[in-house]
């Protein structure tokens, strides 16, 4: 059984179009066990009931942004080991440094191709196939 068959991914983004594009890219990689949330707070609520292996989170979101979500994940014993990839249109050096200090596993800049996202995910979880 390939890793992509068992990998559970949570996509967190407040923009429906962006959420849809990420899920579409995951499906092109044949990663089917995907769920979505529209901000960090609702993501945390879902994760308490449905754990995942990997989170792809947008940075700018209402209620709770991507870095605050990451901070909460790393502070909780149940979620501190989950893979976390920050998805952002503006990867400033400050944002990269902040993300790294909080325990971000990887980052990808929008807009990205499916191949770029696949490479980014494989750097975190290993080969999908």
């Amino acid at each position: 059984m390939a890793l992509r068959d068992s990998l559970k991914v949570l996509v967190v983004d407040d923009m429906p179009t962006s959420r849809g594009l990420i899920v579409q890219a995951l499906e092109e990689m044949k990663i089917w066990k995907n769920s979505t949330e529209n901000n960090g707070q609702t993501a945390l609520e879902r994760l308490s009931k449905e754990p995942v292996h990997l989170i792809l989170s947008d940075m700018n979101m209402p209620v709770m942004d991507g870095l605050e979500l990451l901070r909460n994940l790393r502070a909780n014993r149940a979620t501190k080991g989950v893979g976390f990839i920050l998805v952002t249109g503006k990867p400033t050096p400050e944002l990269v440094a902040k993300g790294r200090s909080l325990g971000m596993n990887n980052m990808i800049k929008k807009p990205f191709t499916t191949a770029q996202l696949k490479a980014c995910i494989e750097q975190v979880v290993g080969p999908l196939a």
Binding site: M15, P16, T17, L21, Q24, G89, P111, T114
Partner: protein, 180 residues
């Protein structure tokens, strides 16, 4: 990306292809000239902030999916900066302009941009208050971000695009006296 400076005097921000601007200053006018490109003008009249982007989806060889990703990215940058400036997502409204068919020889790039612009805003739940898209002429557009007011003027061809919108006329001679 341009943030308008606070100033009492009128300020014109030129928004070129691939860029965007946001402002909450009533003295600011955003200006652009569009052929096949689209400008999405978004504003929150309650918070009196607005912004404009200017994009042309590339004819991606990798398929329309990559086009949509690029367009969505440009729209998201604009929306995120409007929200940072105080706009409320549920109050955002839009005006769409551009997407002309500028050459009979080339494909209708403008139509793809029109389709993307409409579909994106519908998908995001942002109402389109007004649109002027398609046709075969370029447009000069002025957008007033704090009110959402938009003015467009059709221009016939490239030679006219860079002409000033208003040309000063010589005063009519009132008498036989020549003034120097």
């Amino acid at each position: 990306m341009t943030f308008a400076k606070t100033a009492a005097t009128p300020q014109i921000i030129s928004v070129i292809q691939g860029e965007y601007a946001v402002s909450d200053q009533p003295n600011v006018t955003m200006s652009t000239v569009l052929g096949s490109c689209i400008a999405a003008c978004l504003y929150d009249q309650n918070r009196r902030v607005g912004g404009m982007n200017h994009f042309l989806l590339p004819e991606a060889k990798t398929g329309d999916g990559q086009n949509v990703k690029y367009g969505a990215y440009l729209m998201e940058l604009l929306i995120n900066d409007l929200l940072k400036m105080g706009a409320q997502r549920h109050h955002l409204r839009a005006k769409l302009v551009g997407g002309g068919k500028m050459s009979q020889l080339l494909g209708d790039v403008g139509a793809k941009n029109i389709e993307f612009g409409r579909r994106y805003l519908i998908n995001e739940g942002i109402p389109i208050d007004w649109e002027s898209m398609g046709g075969v002429q370029a447009r000069r557009v002025h957008f007033y971000p704090t009110t959402g007011e938009l003015k467009e003027k059709f221009v016939q061809n490239d030679a006219q695009i860079d002409k000033p919108a208003v040309v000063a006329r010589r005063p009519k001679r009132q008498s036989n006296v020549e003034l120097f």
